[in-house]
Subunit: 227 residues, 2 copies
């Protein structure tokens, strides 16, 4: 009886994934045409997604048009925080879902008007597991891991680090009270994904933001210039 249920669930999951891939590719084609670079930003709850966005907007907001889609189970605090910076932000509620998929992302893109932006952030639901399973149609996946969470997380949440093009190690100012091994975390990330880039920063002090904003600038430029 257990076997039957397992097979049934897996079948449906595969259908959902296959349909999601098609929707995600459609989104990427559209974004390419509209010259909008979209970052799918993923992390644990409280790793600092919104704080990283706030400082990124401060740094790059005068140089390119930035928009933010905040995905949460509930509440609107993050969208309100972003909007307070004068940046266009919308709040998406996932209806209890632990992740964003391409179809849900499409609703957000239509709502915010994706074509109006050079750089669009999708702040995914705070979760190191489920969001990694669903292609949202974003140009790149960026994961944030914060120092207080510990340097062992790539061992325990392998898919998140496997699918991420860049990992930001945030809250490096917290190293004064937390043990965290920079080399070990980079090695563990590269074991999951040898091509992943790793940037150490602090949304509080601004350390490392030049590197991260250069990375964004380069990727936005490449995306918009490529045919």
């Amino acid at each position: 009886m257990d076997k039957t249920r397992a097979v049934r669930v897996i079948e449906i999951k595969q259908n959902v994934f296959a349909k999601n891939e098609i929707n995600a590719d459609k989104i990427r084609t559209q974004l390419k045409k509209e010259k909008t670079f979209m970052v799918n930003l993923m992390a644990s709850p409280g790793a600092g997604k919104t704080s990283v966005l706030m400082r990124t907007i401060q740094t790059l907001g005068n140089e390119m048009k930035i928009g933010v889609m905040e995905a949460d189970i509930d509440a609107t605090v993050d969208a309100e925080t972003i909007a307070s910076s004068g940046t266009k932000a919308i709040q998406l509620h996932t209806g209890g879902m632990c992740h964003m998929d391409a179809e849900m992302t499409k609703q957000g893109l239509d709502e915010i008007g994706a074509a109006d932006f050079d750089l669009l952030f999708l702040e995914n639901v705070g979760n190191l597991v489920c969001p990694a399973e669903f292609d949202t149609g974003a140009s790149v996946n960026v994961a944030i891991l914060s120092v207080p969470e510990g340097d062992d997380k790539p061992l325990k949440y392998p898919l998140m680090f496997q699918v991420s093009d860049l990992v930001l190690i945030n809250k490096i100012d917290a190293k004064v009270i937390f043990d965290f091994d920079d080399e070990a975390v980079a090695e563990r990330i590269h074991k999951r994904n040898p091509n992943a880039e790793v940037i150490f920063l602090s949304a509080k002090t601004g350390e490392g933001f030049e590197k991260w904003c250069d990375w964004l600038w380069r990727h936005v430029t490449d995306w918009n210039s490529a045919e």
Copy 2:
């Protein structure tokens, strides 16, 4: 077409939940008979589940028989850490799943030999969303929220706080560098669940552990004495 898919998915989910409730109740009946109190410990990645367990074992390990079931997507680091204290620990791999359900928990209970323990911890997958949806058959649900994650988390992950009998606010020693409002977090938790207890502690310094271990002692005693 979307409607059809949505209805289909929900139906299956309801079947899964209904079956899970039955399995969870069976587990609780069995644990009651065996006089084993089981705690389902849930939190974000890196909130300090394993560190809290280590200090709890140090404090109560001589007074009662404690066992630990570690659930992770991958890796065995947590079970190895616990086992290093001389406590019996087993590692459960969820096969990519973002949570533990009652059936998976039952496999763990059979493996560790639940009847041998007074107090059994199930350290759930690090995730503030999915684990809250599934009754594991535990005697109580305990959530850990750590200071670096921020005091706004009960707003954004309502179900986790709704289903938790007790919330441990961990890493209070980190308040030297992180803003965190004790009153606001307690108010937000109680908005989700007026009956939830809240204990502030630090697995690093030991502050607050007397209160938490008293809570455990009282609940283990009640569970084992009730008919």
